[in-house]
Symmetry: C4
């Protein structure tokens, strides 16, 4: 292929495949999600009573954070699965998302140690907002890559657009939780749960998957 | 391919390959299995005597938990190897299994710190029951995926069915260990070992492998 | 192929593909980058004031180290992406780079605990110099591999040469930061930032990517 | 292929590819090698003098253990690269090797805390013997797999045989270090170094690589 047939200075085939972005992200999220559970402390006293009072509440909160991280991993999986190549903006946006997610164990410990007072719930909501923002930025970098390289069909682009709307809706819910935490922390918690529930089924609010992604790979 | 030729709203080719499920699970299990061994403490006093009394018993217990986690990894390897694509229920069932497995280091520390009294052995048996349940749920999600997509031959389905029976048998043995721990902890330990021995040879109680999986890939 | 048709004793097709170098490096860098963030301590006192004074400055410094490690990961990604096979010198040079990078969390903690005095900033600059040296050595091992096996086109070789120049320039800037730390620590910090900025855009100072790497893979 | 054309009950194509063995091993070794370096403690007092006395000796010892683990990773890389499929004995032998390697950080801390007295050097030599044994067992499982499946050419088998001899030679050197530690610890250290030097060049004492492995893949 003579160089002058390339209309732009952007050659998608020169870019790396997403395999390392995937394995690096898997490694980082695996360490985040596992270290959380390994932080469990032994109860101070022996016997079933100390076990139930000390271990069960911590277990419940960490199960939530594990679920939350797991949902991000599943949606990251589906987002990156749409890509054939990755460029530098996608790699940096992915690092930003990983950085935001890596603050979740700290926010979880903080909300536990502060016994769910208004400020700590607002911090936790702020951390969920940050992680959501990281995901929206990564999704936008993917959309930009599709537009610059022309490697996506209309259906993939529609999926990206719908996922962007879903991302902004959950960001709005997370942002709302910050003032709600000062009015009533449990209302904020319900609002945060709502913002996360949107993502449990990866395809919710997106075009039907048989159209969107199968068409892209044929 | 025109959309109306698809009989269901479920297009297997739109789903991600299991590569990321594998690398994420490998990462999580690698952290679980390694952190356990790295938790070893130096003996309080110098010399061979303190080394033998302090290090050898801990080493023996962690060797058991390492083996146990390793057996789950090998069987996970064989289960996921049957898959070409993964859907959301498989991804969530896999997260559940990883969460259950990640509690094993805590249960191991607990049973050591409580010196194998009845309650701590019952907690350990409960954790093995949970991990077994996680594996049965993942295996059921794989079977459901095979039925919905029609991507498995009869031999793969027979393997899944046989593995399900094996899973329920080991669950029954783990559940039995909870009351046994109150009658005699060492009987419970023997019962737990029996439930685990079933899984040491991945093909035990399953149809011969030349039929089951080679046929599936041809 | 009869053995006597091989002009050298060096058969590239006998060497492993870079996949394991990639996944091992991803694992090591994932642990380095995540452990840094997990080292966050809860503030000593409750409430927003302690949160802001204790958490925000640590967060800022760790964000820098996270970014720094992330930039190395991205450039490592692009460097290794040029390879089809890896030989023992590349594997050892990669281990050297990983060792140097793994000292970054320690250097970060040290500069924080010493409150940015001249010696601690010089130690931090020395660690950045070491990491830069590790990258230059790995890049040189890749160039040597290209020359010995003849597996690179002229454009890949030109990219390697340009990247080598960029590496030596940033090494010079890092080395300069060691004496600067004794003159004025903030000048040293600016100099270190300059040496790192060179690497933020992976293609900066390199031949245009459509020529360099796409030509290599066609 | 009709089932009755299979002469044995062993169908290599039913077995998983080595990709997960590789990624799991990479994960475990990545955690082992990184955690060692992250265990560095800050010096007790500020300033260059405390830095040099506290940090430099620990750095030197951990550099050795990092190198040692890295050499095992490189040789593991070359060994597994010969395989197309893995069976259960290979998976278990690999777990054994990973368990042995995971004890190295503990042995390193122990020899440091005991100030290289005879017993601690003997413990360290014992740990190197164990890791060497793990590698010999894994290599034997690979050879057995080649014989059972007939998937290796004569050259691969010759490489395995030569690697086995190399393994036994280093085991003999490690075993010799245990009594040597009671005679003179520094002689034991030299002997251990000799046993490890054999493995620095992966192809040392093996048939020339152009014959051994390139022929296998053609």
């Amino acid at each position: 292929m003579p160089p002058n047939t390339l209309p732009t200075d952007y050659a998608p085939e020169a870019l790396p495949a997403p395999s390392r972005l995937e394995s690096f992200s898997d490694g980082v999220i695996a360490v985040i999600i596992t270290i959380m559970v390994l932080e469990f402390k032994l109860p101070q006293e022996p016997g079933p009573k100390a076990f139930i009072t000390d271990v069960i509440p911590t277990l419940a909160v960490y199960l939530l954070s594990f679920t939350y991280t797991g949902i991000y991993w599943i949606n990251h999986n589906h987002l990156v699965n749409r890509l054939k190549r990755v460029d530098a903006p996608i790699l940096y946006a992915n690092l930003l998302l990983l950085f935001c997610l890596s603050l979740l164990p700290f926010a979880t410990s903080y909300v536990l140690s502060e016994k769910f007072n208004s400020f700590s719930v607002a911090v936790y909501a702020g951390e969920l907002f940050l992680s959501g923002l990281g995901f929206v930025v990564l999704s936008a970098a993917v959309t930009r890559h599709f537009h610059r390289t022309g490697t996506a069909n209309p259906v993939k682009l529609a999926t990206q657009k719908a996922e962007g709307r879903k991302g902004f809706l959950s960001l709005a819910l997370y942002a709302l939780a910050v003032p709600l935490a000062y009015w009533h922390p449990s209302m904020a918690a319900a609002d945060l749960a709502l913002g996360t529930l949107l993502w449990i089924v990866p395809g919710f609010m997106l075009p039907a998957s048989r159209h969107s992604e199968s068409a892209g790979s044929s």
